[in-house]
């Protein structure tokens, strides 16, 4: 049987694989949410949090960036049971990959915040805005726009990393691909190629969407220093 024939056979498993890929998307959504909110918080602490909180935020970022995703997954999956808590693989994956992403996102947001000229904050304060208000209405709206390109990279990267949850037994697409392979070994290559194509579709549509978002919110004169148009 030729390779095309094998691809055709994988077609039978396609609905199952696609359904499993929804788990990847759910995980992606959840981890981005955790990563975004925590990442913003960590970046704000790093820039505005003062000595103590700032240092803690930097340590947090450093730890979650330095430990491999797989090790974090294991720690979050097996860690709680060590203390007598049961944790499902989905939740463990959300937390492990979410915290990890928050560290990467905090770096992106911090860079964006620091790229905003100090005059913006001074002008906001001169109007009588409190610091939190100035951050909310003046700094963050600019920082988030500046962060979109960096954030798109992080998005691609974590989209693919959702497959790592395979290691803690999450019923995501790679696990099902492996099941297909275990059933019909001759389909292994074809199956993994299909999985690869599914992810190409994910990363490309995601990046297209983010590109649109960037263009939609682009503002004349607002760009990272050194960025070329």
């Amino acid at each position: 049987m030729g390779f095309l024939g094998q691809l055709g056979q994988v077609g039978h498993y396609l609905p199952m694989l696609l359904r499993a890929s929804l788990v990847n998307l759910e995980l992606l959504w959840a981890l981005l949410l955790i990563g975004f909110s925590l990442g913003t918080l960590v970046a704000l602490l790093q820039v505005y949090g003062g000595r103590l909180l700032g240092t803690l935020a930097y340590i947090y970022e450093w730890v979650f960036r330095s430990v491999p995703a797989l090790v974090l997954l294991f720690l979050f999956y097996y860690g709680p049971s060590h203390f007598g808590l049961d944790i499902q693989s989905f939740l463990a994956a959300c937390l492990a990959l979410g915290f990890r992403s928050s560290a990467y996102q905090s770096q992106i947001f911090r860079g964006a915040i620091q790229a905003i000229p100090t005059g913006q904050m001074v002008a906001a304060r001169a109007l009588g805005m409190s610091r939190p208000r100035a951050i909310l209405h003046v700094i963050l709206p600019q920082a988030f726009r500046l962060a979109i390109p960096g954030w798109s990279n992080e998005f691609s990267s974590v989209t693919k990393d959702t497959t790592l949850a395979y290691a803690v037994g999450l019923n995501e697409i790679m696990r099902y691909a492996k099941i297909v392979m275990d059933r019909q070994y001759e389909l292994a290559m074809a199956t993994f190629i299909v999985v690869a194509l599914v992810f190409l579709a994910f990363t490309y549509s995601g990046n297209a969407l983010l590109g649109q978002l960037e263009r939609r919110f682009r503002i004349p004169g607002l760009q990272m220093p050194g960025a070329t148009l």
Partner: protein, 250 residues
């Protein structure tokens, strides 16, 4: 206390350098004071100490009988009453001219959006930029940006506006439009402190000129007197230099 603004014995040092060495003056309602002096003399620092964008080390400031420098004062409430116009405009990059002007009224004064928009349009019209309401700062010339930033200050209905070299970052041909707006404001009775090197403006608009050097007020007086017969040799020296540099009456 009758004066709108009272500044008393302000001191500020950065590390070793004493930038303000006891500055005091008063400002009446409707008065325009122009501060002149060499670079690095502490003029910007003085303005920033008035609304505590920079914390003074010593000395006190009152606005309309309220002590600005008191730790009990809500400084944000005071700043809302003091407009500040920066040398490099500092318009909010992500907001259109209109949004820049109405941000303060909405977020600081708690005005409704519709009302703030109407107010902002009025202020933009006042500086001659009603047609640029939808433009982003990067789409405006320097002179237009500075006028928007004046409108932004005006929209807060301030008791006083502080101008820190509002025309220094502008190309020569754009300076006039900004000075025109400021002159009009002064004539309408706005209370203003203006740090500038524009001697023509100082002479024709100021009620009083303050000459500062090395952190102290060297001499102050009405423009006619200060320009024609300065009491202090340092003042005369400075005026001679500035005339050479900026070509006199501007």
């Amino acid at each position: 206390m009758n004066a709108l603004l009272v500044v008393e014995d302000l001191h500020k040092r950065y590390g070793r350098e004493e930038v303000l060495k006891g500055v005091s003056f008063e400002l009446e309602r409707g008065e325009t004071k122009v501060i002149i002096g060499p670079s690095g003399t502490g003029k910007s620092t003085l303005l920033r100490c008035i609304n505590r964008l920079t914390e003074p080390d010593r000395g006190r400031v009152w606005l309309d009988g309220v002590e600005v420098t008191s730790p009990k004062t809500n400084i944000n409430r005071i700043r809302a009453q003091i407009g500040f116009v920066f040398q490099d405009f500092n318009l909010f990059t992500h907001l259109t001219a209109l949004e820049n002007v109405r941000l303060g009224p909405m977020r600081v004064l708690g005005m409704k959006k519709a009302e703030a928009t109407r107010l902002a349009m009025e202020e933009l019209a006042r500086v001659g930029l009603a047609d640029k309401a939808e433009a982003y700062p990067a789409q405006l010339s320097g002179g237009q940006q500075q006028r928007v930033s004046i409108a932004r200050a005006l929209a807060m209905n301030p008791k006083l506006i502080l101008f820190d070299e509002p025309t220094s970052a502008l190309d020569p041909e754009l300076i006039g439009e900004v000075l025109t707006v400021m002159t009009k404001l002064a004539q309408e009775g706005m209370t203003m402190i203006v740090v500038t090197h524009e001697m023509g403006f100082a002479r024709s608009v100021a009620d009083e000129i303050i000459f500062m050097e090395k952190g102290v007020i060297v001499e102050q007086g009405p423009p006619a007197q200060l320009f024609s017969s300065p009491k202090h040799p340092r003042t005369a020296e400075f005026l001679r230099k500035i005339t050479e540099l900026y070509g006199g009456e501007g």
